[in-house]
């Protein structure tokens, strides 16, 4: 399968609102909604980061694909949630729909448990918009 969802301006704005309310306000550094081809659909940040989001998205798409292949080997369809922990910053990946991933970059000031709750909330709301 190979599809890219076409987004309208209104859809993008609605998604941005969700991400702003659920995640940016929580204090995450940066959030990226991307497709599995590595395209960045929406990117918001707290204003004090300058990550190279296009390279991040390209690698995240590859990473997600590789991990899905690992899942298949052990008999799972996929791992719908991934988390990479760093000393200062961490990355959380969550699948939104078939072709979309939500990437959240956050630091030590945000608790993982709370973040997961908020990501789940955001994913639910975005699913209704796409």
């Amino acid at each position: 399968m190979d599809f890219t969802i076409d987004f309208t301006k209104e859809q993008i704005e609605a998604i941005e609102n969700v991400l702003e309310e659920e995640l940016i306000e929580l204090g995450v550094q940066s959030v990226i909604l991307m497709d599995l081809a590595g395209n960045v659909i929406v990117n918001l940040d707290s204003g004090d980061t300058s990550h190279d989001v296009f390279s991040l998205a390209a690698l995240a798409a590859g990473n997600y694909g590789a991990v899905s292949a690992m899942a298949n080997i052990i008999g799972e369809q996929e791992f719908s949630l991934l988390f990479h922990k760093g000393e200062e910053e961490s990355i959380h990946f969550s699948k939104v729909v078939d072709d979309l991933l939500l990437l959240t970059i956050f630091n030590k000031n945000v608790s993982l448990g709370f973040l997961r709750l908020k990501v789940a909330e955001a994913v639910k709301r975005i699913q209704l918009l796409v």
Binding site: M1, D2, F3, T4, D6, F7, T8, K9, I12, E13, D35, L36, A37, G38, N39, V40, I41, D52, F54, S55, A58, L59, A61, G62, G65, A66, A69
Partner: protein, 201 residues
């Protein structure tokens, strides 16, 4: 299919350099990275194995200016060429808008080129894409080897082997010296972007 963001009026175009292992795909991107350093805002990303072979992909993004009021972001990828990495190759091909097929001109690699092109065709089919409908440019790389006395395939033979049916634009090239590397890239960007034009109107 390229991703169009109507809010930012931005188009992301994915171009993949495909071809047999050790054919010069990464060298193409490295040359472009050096030559266009000023227009490339971020570092080239490469995921390599021990021994400097591409394991996952190389990734090089740059801005190309505007078309019909949309800013165009070109994203160049390479795939790992080695046969055993097909799963990764397929991953990288996902959502591809244009392909540069980098063939190795060395006499010894004739069979590898043909097999790699067949592999490209099959992988595109797994995404319901027909190779005949995807913008593609052929690059016959390593022409410089003949100066060192290494036997290389005549262009006519390579055309017959690889481009008989596709009839794609082709360039004899040397990624090491940079000969026709830019020409190849410009051609694939032109082909890919013109296939998008209609969508932007």
């Amino acid at each position: 299919m390229a991703l169009i963001n109507p809010k930012k009026r931005e188009v992301q175009v994915k171009i993949v350099y495909y071809g047999p292992g050790r054919g010069g795909k990464t060298t193409n991107l490295e040359y472009i990275n050096r030559k266009f350093k000023k227009r490339i805002l971020s570092e080239m990303v490469t995921v390599k194995t021990y021994g400097d072979r591409t394991l996952f992909f190389d990734f090089l993004p740059f801005d190309m200016g505007e078309i019909k009021g949309h800013s165009i972001k070109i994203q160049l990828y390479t795939v790992p060429g080695q046969v055993k990495y097909n799963a990764t190759r397929r991953l990288v091909l996902r959502g591809v808008d244009g392909v540069v097929f980098v063939a190795d001109s060395m006499d010894l690699r004739r069979e590898m080129n043909i097999r790699s092109l067949q592999n490209l065709k099959e992988n595109l089919e797994s995404f319901n894409k027909n190779i005949l409908n995807v913008p593609i440019v052929m690059q016959y790389n390593k022409r410089d080897l003949s100066e060192e006395g290494i036997p290389i395939l005549p262009i006519e033979t390579m055309q017959k082997d690889l481009n008989h049916q596709l009839k794609a634009p082709y360039f004899p090239a040397s990624a090491v010296s940079g000969e026709n590397v830019t020409a190849t890239m410009k051609k694939i960007i032109a082909l890919t972007v013109s296939s998008l034009r209609k969508k932007l109107e």
